[in-house]
Every structure is written in structure tokens, then in C-alpha cells.
Point group: C2
Chain length 207, copies 2
DNA sequence: GACAATATACTACTTTCGTACCATACCAAC
DNA sequence: GTTGGTATGGTACGAAAGTAGTATATTGTC
């Protein structure tokens, strides 16, 4: 398994090198501290896995991936960054990166991630998920508080539908929808549909 | 590392047993197919890691954890289930489980997860994150489309605030808030604040 | 059968939201 | 110094949203 590391912090570079050196199945074939350097290194040396930081001096880590993908698509990319920013993570995922590890991770976590990704799986740091959830306080067991119809309405709210659209979807009048919405807001103590919708998006079954 | 498995599907039990048996550092010390059985097994035999299904015949996996925690709190728990249901995952995370793996995972993923959890880290199946995000289509780079003030307003929308509250928060009049909200909706092509709020919750920086 | 809970539909009313148009002030670019 | 973009505050108005109250049908329980 041939690995390349791209990071502009010498300390990080050093730490990763040491961790990877201890693994029998991993072979560090190159390092880069800047974007341009990284692109030419990756396209030349054909690595299996590349670990890269998001923010470099001349180019973002995602930009490096975009450029290298034009030439070789088999290589796996893992973002190794300090950013728990949701938007950063989203963009990386959208580009199809195979892993996303925070710099606060333990060495064994990095090693696990590299192995998993190399074998075609993905790995996202659990801390990211933690930071993405745990925002809205729990209201209790929904099924206990809401009737099944009210739950359907709440789900529709979470899809961003207005009353007319919900009425159409559930084959009932808009008046009835209003009634249900009022009930939901009262039971869960929300001020308006927007708060209910946000709650629903976090809590309700999507699949 | 002493491990216990709780699952009412014989096949799953069998598969996990085989996978764990191949690992030098893991020792399977017990299995259970029902909740009550599991609770007494766990409290007696003092395992390091317990893998359990969410749905059993007599008791939920989470209920097992609750009962066992009263006696021994050091043990680590990993949910091993077929459910990608958001609500299931949320409840498990809220109870503080250390891992959540889907049954479609590869053996090496399960092994990785057990090792990571044993060492005090967490592990959530990446597929869950995938299913939780990929819902709302991307609108483009927000920073490019919205002004900084509009971004602030959008963020506030994502917190479920109404116009009056946003005005107070940003020290501007409600009229100006309306103006910004209108602009945001127009630029991102949303029908109303609820859709914008849902988008914001998925996309915007929270920390 | 009586009773409670639910789902439905409607009226009436208030509040909030969203848009259109207007106006001022600031700042940076050309 | 004029032009364009942004932030601000305001008026006016129509469309949604939300609440309160009334009414009917259905369902399940005691």
C-alpha cells in the first residue's frame, strides 16, 4: 500500500510519517507541503492512498484531488484536517473523498482509516457526527406524544412543505392540516412550523 | 479483550463469531439471543466490549445497555444492526453507545470498530452519515452568492428564529431583516423561510 | 350504550411572512 | 465624482400561518 502525505505543517508530517513507518503493510512513498508540488508528485508516483490537509498555502486539498482525478481515478483520498466545520466536511464528501479524519484523532484511528479506505470502504471521524448532531434538545419519545397523523404532518414539515402542499399530499383539506400543525406545535412546544421542521429534519426517519 | 455478542439471528451470531475468532487479541466469552439472558450474562462475566442488535424479542438493545450500566459502567457497547433509521441512531448516540455498525459492513470494519472502541474511541458507520446528508441538493458556494449579512440571516433562520428575534440578534430593524430574508430566498430559490432554515441546518457552520 | 380519542371540515380572526417600491448612507472601483 | 453594490429603515399590501371555536364521523374501550 503506497501512501503520500500532503500537509504544510512539518510537525504533522513528521508525526504521520512515524505512525505509518510502524506498519508493515504501509509504505510512505512521498510527502508534499504545497499544492502544486503535491499534484505533480501524485500524478507521477501513482499512490494507493493520499492523506491531505484541507488548507494549504497555494491550493485547497480538494483542488488537488480534482486535478489529480483527471489523470488517475483509482487513488483514494483521505482528508486530514483540524476543521470540524460542517461546510468543509460537506464539500469534501460531495467531492467524494473516501475518508475525513480530524487531527485530534489517535494514531490507531488514522491507521484504521487508511486500511479501510484502501479496501474500498469509507471512514468519517466520529467527532464530526457528534458536532453535527446534539444541537436540538430532545422532546421525548415522539411516538408517545403524537398521533400517527400528526407524525405524518411533522414529517412533511421537515420536508419544507407548506400547508397547501401537505393537504395535497395527505388528501385532506388545508384546514385540517392547520389543525394538525397547531397540535404538533402545542404538543412539542414549538413557536412555529420552522422550528418544528428543523426538529423533524434532525429527528425523523428519512428513508 | 473479552467480547460478548447479543443477537437473535443465528446467522449473524455465527458470522461474528468466525470473524472474531480469527483475531489474536480478541476473545469471545459469551453469546446471548434474548435481552434477559444478555443482561445476566454481561453483569456476570464482565466483558470489555459488547456487540448488540437493536431489536430483540423481549427487550431493545438500548434497554440492555441501560440495565447493565447500573452495575458496571466500564464496559463498551457497540450497536450492530440493519437499521439506518435516523431516529434509532439518534437514540443510541444519546444513550452514549461507543459504536454503531451496520450489518452490511465488511468484517474488517467490525474488527476496526471493536479495536477503536476498546481503546476509548468511537466508531459510527460511514453509511449512516451518507444517508443523513445527501438529501438537499446543493445550491452552490454560499459565500459566492450571499453577502456576509445575508449569511448571518440565513444562519439565524437555521436556528429557528423569527424576524423579530433576528432583528434583535443583529441589532437591526425587522424591516431590514425581511429585506435580507427576501434576498436569501430569491438568491437560493427557496419558497419560504422554512426551506431556507432546513437548508441552513444542513449546510451552515454550527460551531 | 356511553365515553374518550382521533380525524375530518369549516368559519372567523390575528399575526407573521414575503414582496414591491421608495429612500438614505456608506464604500470601493473605475 | 459617478457608478454599483451593500446595509439600513420605512410604507403598503396580499398571502400564509396560527389560534379558537364548532361540528360530525369513526374507532376502540369500559
Amino acid at each position: 500500500m503506497n501512501i503520500i502525505i500532503v500537509d504544510d505543517h512539518p510537525l504533522v508530517l513528521h508525526g504521520l510519517t512515524a505512525v505509518i513507518a510502524g506498519q508493515g503493510d504501509m509504505n510512505l512513498i512521498g510527502e508534499a507541503q504545497a499544492g502544486n508540488e503535491a499534484v505533480s508528485l501524485i500524478t507521477k508516483s501513482n499512490p494507493d492512498v493520499v492523506l491531505l490537509d484541507l488548507r494549504l498555502k497555494d491550493m485547497s486539498g480538494l483542488e488537488i484531488i480534482r486535478r489529480c482525478r483527471e489523470k488517475d481515478s483509482a487513488c483514494k483520498y483521505i482528508i486530514f484536517t483540524a476543521s470540524v466545520d460542517r461546510e468543509d466536511f460537506r464539500r469534501a464528501r460531495e467531492l467524494g473523498v473516501d475518508g475525513y479524519i480530524l487531527k485530534e484523532a489517535f494514531p490507531e484511528e488514522v491507521i484504521s482509516a487508511i486500511r479501510l479506505v484502501y479496501r474500498g470502504r469509507k471512514y468519517y471521524d466520529p467527532s464530526i457526527i457528534d458536532s453535527m448532531m446534539s444541537k436540538i434538545e430532545n422532546v421525548g419519545n415522539l411516538e408517545d406524544k403524537l398521533t400517527s397523523r400528526e407524525l405524518e404532518v411533522l414529517t412533511a414539515l421537515g420536508e419544507g412543505l407548506n400547508n397547501k402542499e401537505i393537504a395535497k399530499k395527505l388528501y385532506i383539506s388545508e384546514y385540517t392540516v392547520k389543525k394538525h400543525v397547531s397540535q404538533v406545535l402545542a404538543k412539542l412546544k414549538f413557536a412555529d412550523r420552522t422550528q418544528a421542521a428543523l426538529y423533524a429534519q434532525e429527528r425523523i426517519i428519512t428513508a
